[in-house]
């Protein structure tokens, strides 16, 4: 795979340096059949250093995960070698199945099939709370 030129796929750019691995893990990119390139500590004019992820297949991305972990990233969709869409991520209003509630008294601790859902309650502080027990992430 030529990591400079993807034909059909996704480029996640402007990842805060050091967060590439976490995003790779949270998006489950290790389980994909296609080629995935994780570039760490790339030079960036704006950020000094940044991480980049390139995915060589047109997969569906969970953009909520990206917006939550690293709200500054940009996602470019590549089709036939051209960038057809470029999106800046924002903090999602809701996180479904991204993080787990750690409150041992929460109903999610005993009901295994319940989806862990968090709501953004304070965007300025990036504060999310469990919708069931209101415990912070």
């Amino acid at each position: 795979m030529n990591i400079d030129s993807i034909k059909n796929g996704i480029v996640i750019d402007h990842i805060t340096a050091g967060k590439g691995m976490e995003i790779h893990r949270l998006l489950g990119l290790g389980n994909l059949d296609c080629m995935v390139a994780l570039i760490t500590s790339a030079n960036s004019e704006k950020m000094g250093r940044k991480d980049i992820i390139k995915i060589d297949a047109p997969i569906e991305l969970d953009t909520d995960v990206l917006g939550y972990v690293d709200p500054g990233v940009t996602v470019s969709i590549i089709r036939d070698g051209e960038t057809v869409e470029k999106k800046k991520m924002t903090l999602p209003d809701e996180l479904e199945g991204v993080v787990r509630c750690r409150n041992p008294r929460c109903i999610t601790s005993t009901e295994q099939e319940l989806t862990h859902i968090f709501k953004l309650v304070n965007p300025a502080k990036r504060e999310y709370r469990c919708i069931y027990c209101e415990t912070k992430v």
Binding site: N103, R105, C106, I107, S109, E111, L114, Y132, E134
Partner: protein, 308 residues
């Protein structure tokens, strides 16, 4: 909250707007004045009391409320005798009970369980207490008592005393009363049981005047309302700490000497010994009226949620 089927439920006191609380209070006052006109309002309706942990007084209050509206009651009073003992999920229980009943009152030891029920039921769910999290019908009882005793919700000095750290009824009361003009709080507790940061920060953010003190007697003369709470044994990891603190904040007749003549003493009950029995006959003692008011507010709430 309103779920995906458009069914309303009450999970937290903040689900209710100030206006909705006023409406419930008016309904309750109307029930008190005209009990007969409500005696058939829920005829043919069934309340399911799903108590996954025992709480006899809350359950009886709900049952009495439904009977006085002419309805019927089904349910269970502890998890052992329910399908939960066989491992059924709260969601499945809620869907199943929706086939039998018209409204659910649920008590559960796990925080958020009534919300799971409310998300899945096709009938309204009332949170009758979920662990240390919410207990909105207790707060409704507190609010009706304040309204009936004081004639208003605004411009009151409210003292809360005892376990302010784990006392969920205190947190809900502060949330609910913070919405009215001119209300201030005196938070009276041992150092170990002060209100959690999030409660304190919420008051600061809303510019609600409050003071924190360890001195019950010193605070007494300023108070319009004194809300006493129980220091619960199960909240302590250490028996020694419990024994040392449990008697710190006992309300006795002599402590009321320098209180206002129209002070109202509230308590969510049951009490252990934090209010001396000698005070029960003092006109300022309102905690048994509060129990009765709880039933009236549950009646008003059932009517509202059933839309009858």
């Amino acid at each position: 909250m309103i779920n995906k089927y458009g069914i309303p439920s009450l999970l937290s006191i903040l689900d209710l707007s100030v206006q909705e609380i006023d409406e419930l209070v008016s309904t309750a006052e109307h029930i008190i004045a005209n009990p007969k006109s409500y005696a058939q309002r829920c005829k043919g309706k069934k309340l399911a009391t799903l108590f996954f942990e025992p709480s006899t007084r809350t359950r009886l209050s709900f049952e009495a409320a439904m009977y006085e509206l002419g309805g019927n009651v089904i349910g269970f009073s502890e998890a052992n005798s329910s399908s939960a003992a066989k491992g059924e999920s709260v969601a499945d229980t809620a869907k199943t009970i929706s086939c039998y009943a018209d409204i659910i009152a649920m008590r559960h030891p796990k925080e958020g369980a009534p919300m799971v029920a409310a998300m899945n039921a096709t009938i309204p769910v009332i949170n009758a207490g979920d662990g240390g999290h919410n207990h909105p019908t207790q707060t409704l009882a507190d609010l009706l008592t304040i309204k009936l005793e004081k004639g208003r919700f605004d411009h009151l000095v409210i003292g809360v005393c005892g376990d302010l750290k784990f006392g969920r009824t205190v947190h809900s009361l502060i949330d609910a009363m913070s919405r009215y003009e001119g209300v201030s709080f005196v938070l009276i507790s041992p150092e170990e049981l002060k209100v959690p940061d999030y409660v304190r920060n919420a008051m600061k953010e809303k510019n609600i005047p409050f003071v924190e003190t360890t001195d019950l007697e010193g605070a007494m003369p300023t108070l319009d309302i004194l809300y006493m709470t129980r220091v619960q044994r199960e909240r302590f990891f250490n028996e020694e700490d419990y024994l040392r603190l449990k008697d710190s904040y006992i309300l006795t007749a002599d402590k009321l000497d320098n209180a206002k003549q129209n002070l109202s003493v509230l308590h969510p009950l049951p009490r252990v010994n934090e209010i001396s029995v000698a005070i029960d006959d003092d006109p300022r003692a309102c905690y048994f009226k509060q129990v009765l008011n709880g039933k009236y507010m549950r009646m008003a709430l059932i009517l509202k949620l059933l839309g009858v």
